[in-house]
Symmetry: C2
Subunit: 310 residues, 2 copies
């Protein structure tokens, strides 16, 4: 049993109680705290120096990213964020001015989205900066979009362009809060999540939770300019379509809805969000796993290899 298997096993035996609507395994936990028309969303997300940012990252961008990641998870449930607690673990003697700039970046994004920062903690982590943000939000009862509702025949959509996030977007991405709420208000969205580990990996979470498979059209996958530039300038880099499928930290939304709603969605989306691309990239099918269709046919996308793109 490897590390991830064990952790998966641990999270199957977690203590629960009647307030839990959705526990571990979705973008946020969903809890019934007694509000007549709304449910509570609850999420934490941590960023660590050397993994999610470097010593050279401007501190404002570290703070912004630390909060934006959790906001993206609230978006993935079609929720609205309410309040955050900030845990900053840092080496002793860390420059307090840097901490101030981290807060500046975080506070600015919080104000944009009406999020209150209601406290937190500063503690010691001698070797590197680590920031964990806990978030609560809410969603109208019956409107939380889980990962488990995808149905065979659904159309699969993604917002924005994918891949190459390391060139900058991983620090500057916009959590798709307004877009997700608009989607859930106007359409019956069957399943949704945000893309943190790459489409190929993240879409599998929806497929597993829903007990279905997916067929993607290779030419429909929206490839970012950053992924194309990187592939062109560096022959050792991933081909751009592979980068779009497998690069992490896009923080776009992937979601499914009945294919009969797809045209109406595309039409109204263009009016409402003219600056954000929305792409239909394929469909949900019976079965499991991901098939990629291109001019040479349909190919199974292996879980840990992308041979077809090499």
């Amino acid at each position: 049993m490897n590390e991830f298997d064990l952790i998966a096993q641990l999270t199957r035996a977690l203590p629960t109680n009647p307030s839990v609507v959705t526990g571990a395994g979705d973008d946020c936990a969903v809890l019934d705290m007694g509000a007549p028309d709304r449910l509570l969303l609850f999420k934490t997300d941590a960023v660590v120096e050397g993994f999610h940012f470097t010593r050279e990252t401007p501190p404002e961008k570290i703070g912004r990213k630390a909060l934006a990641r959790g906001l993206s998870d609230i978006a993935a449930m079609a929720g609205a964020p309410t309040a955050a607690l900030v845990t900053i673990a840092l080496p002793e003697g860390y420059d307090p001015g840097v901490v101030g700039r981290i807060y500046d970046g975080m506070n600015a994004l919080a104000r944009e989205h009406g999020v209150a920062i209601v406290g937190g903690e500063t503690t010691t982590n001698p070797e590197r900066l680590l920031i964990s943000i806990a978030l609560i939000g809410s969603v109208a009862r019956g409107k939380a979009v889980l990962r488990s509702g995808a149905k065979a025949g659904d159309a699969i959509f993604v917002t924005g362009d994918l891949g190459g996030s390391l060139a900058g977007k991983n620090l500057d991405f916009e959590p798709r809060l307004a877009e997700a709420r608009w989607l859930a208000d106007r359409f019956s969205i069957h399943a949704m999540m945000d893309l943190s580990d790459g489409l190929a990996g993240d879409l599998r979470h929806i497929l597993k939770a829903s007990g279905v498979g997916a067929e993607l059209s290779k030419s429909a996958i929206p490839i970012s300019r950053a992924a194309r530039v990187r592939a062109r300038e560096n022959t050792a880099a991933k081909p751009a379509p592979l980068a779009a499928l497998t690069d992490g930290e896009d923080f776009e939304l992937v979601f499914t809805l009945a294919s009969r709603d797809a045209v109406k969605l595309l039409d109204t989306w263009r009016e409402k969000f003219p600056e954000l691309k929305l792409s239909c990239i394929g469909k949900i099918v019976a079965g499991e796993g991901i098939q990629i269709r291109d001019k040479s046919g349909s190919h199974r996308l292996a879980a840990h290899g992308y041979e077809h793109f090499r």
Copy 2:
């Protein structure tokens, strides 16, 4: 400006919104999420290897402590805990069996108190284990006990015995959840908090938040057996009364209520919680700071020195 001053300044300018009832600066944040009769409590707490536990600490006790600290903060508001999210940051290749045992300790305590564990995250911190727990709970409207309500003339009480927690209690303490709710249900508790950094330091938070001072009776401060043993066996150790005032991680409750309620409180407490000591250690007075009274008179307890005990 030192590190703590800057952080204090940062937390004065935090983004807020109408859901915030009590923001940064109390044991938990208090939020109005629309439930007709209850408010939400929100808290995070982190423990770090080398500071809050060691590599030799049994993993079950690490997990238990990580959760118990936050539960103690929920208790300090007279609240009931509902759900937790667990962030574990650990070196690559960390023994998954140890992670399992951490969860075992945490889950057992969660079950005791009816707390659901609704997810979290495992991330990388290469040099040491760090666990951050986010907690939500709730409290009846009008029943949350803040730090800011102490009034001149109040009696000051503490539960349990103080000092010497490092000998073992820092890993085994019981969050005083039932006791705190019983207190708030039956008495008008003016101010309350849990003791994490030592009575002398923590009581000052109540005094500052309430704009008052305190006079403590040296002989009334309940000294733990561990603090006495340590002082007797090691002449370089703190005198036991000083340990009781300044050792951290007691996780007992300190609270104030009108002195006319003190006798009734002591009588009914003894019936309800016969195994947990409750001590009246002094009174709230006009002014600021802490005075200690002993047979030689009344002495000011300096913020960062305890000369009178040396």
